[in-house]
């Protein structure tokens, strides 16, 4: 499924009963929602048009951890039905298994760029296991 547009995420927040907060933020609208079990959800939408975020892996984390949905389909279901998300009484429901979400620890990224001297884009394109091998190889040579 595609990453939603900012307007989709704003619309989701409206339909799902989130409140827009007054937190200081010149570039974003911030939203908050308290679930029946007391969980406090927070998310933000940057101003302007375009995708809500640039990265499908980040979007996976947003719907799972910020919107507390059990699946991405629930997000689109809210937009389709114009009804709030149906979350289980304990809040988060039973999340589906996480999809593959490429990423690497920031310390590893920074080490390879700042210490080893690899180009930033090369490291960003590198799978985590390869990045770790480069790190271990470098450390072994020191």
């Amino acid at each position: 499924m595609p990453v939603p547009d900012k307007k989709d995420l704003r619309r989701f927040c409206e339909l799902d009963g989130w409140e827009k907060t007054a937190a200081r933020s010149p570039d974003h609208d911030r939203y908050r929602k308290t679930l029946d079990n007391g969980d406090i959800l927070r998310t933000r939408v940057s101003h302007g048009r375009g995708p809500a975020c640039e990265d499908p892996a980040l979007w996976n984390r947003i719907w799972r951890h910020q919107l507390a949905l059990a699946s991405e389909a629930e997000f689109w279901e809210v937009l389709r039905t114009h009804r709030p998300a149906v979350r289980s009484p304990i809040g988060r429901g039973a999340p589906a298994p996480a999809p593959q979400q490429p990423g690497m620890p920031a310390w590893l990224f920074e080490f390879l760029v700042n210490v080893v001297g690899l180009p930033e884009n090369d490291v960003l394109d590198m799978p985590e296991d390869e990045a770790m091998q480069r790190y271990l190889r470098y450390m072994g040579e020191q």
């Binding site: 959800l41 975020c53 499908p56």
Partner: protein, 158 residues
């Protein structure tokens, strides 16, 4: 163990008690009435208590830039470059810590926020020390101490 001092006594000698806690590193329990109990703790001691709380940001490449996810707070930063995403995330952490501390009673009751408290305090103290960036973006994990027979390996720090 020493008994808590009363709030009225603390009011009378706040300066010396503060020095005792901060400069002589001696935590001070302060009681008001029969139920309210507080603890005056030096910054160094508070920092030491939180030494094992660390942050584990993850970097991801998107179609149009870089994003960084911070699992301890369920926050992200994004930008056209890593530096922009990093700065964006640090800004988000500052906003969240302010928000959490301003609504501490409510956030500590929230099942999905209660466990954030030690990390919130850590980030707050780190900011006061001018070390927020280092706290949120720590360097490589220390390699495990290996015996001569064991192979040294380094985990991903998660």
């Amino acid at each position: 163990m020493s008994e808590p001092i009363s709030i009225s006594l603390f009011r009378q000698k706040a300066g010396p008690y503060f020095s005792e806690a901060v400069h002589r590193h001696s935590p001070l329990a302060i009681q008001r009435g029969s139920e309210d109990l507080g603890l005056l703790l030096g910054h160094d001691e508070a920092w030491a208590l939180l030494a094992d709380r660390s942050f584990t940001p993850e970097v991801m490449r998107g179609d149009g830039g870089v994003s960084i996810w911070l699992p301890e707070f369920a926050l992200y930063g994004q930008g056209a470059t890593y530096a922009e995403a990093r700065a964006d995330l640090l800004g988000e952490v500052r906003v969240y810590v302010d928000e959490y501390l301003a609504n501490a009673a409510e956030y500590r009751r929230a099942p999905n926020r209660a466990a954030h408290l030690p990390h919130v305090i850590k980030a707050y103290l780190a900011e006061l020390r001018g070390e927020l960036e280092q706290a949120i973006f720590p360097g490589p994990p220390d390699p495990p101490v290996a015996s001569s027979e064991e192979e040294v390996s380094v985990s991903a720090g998660r």
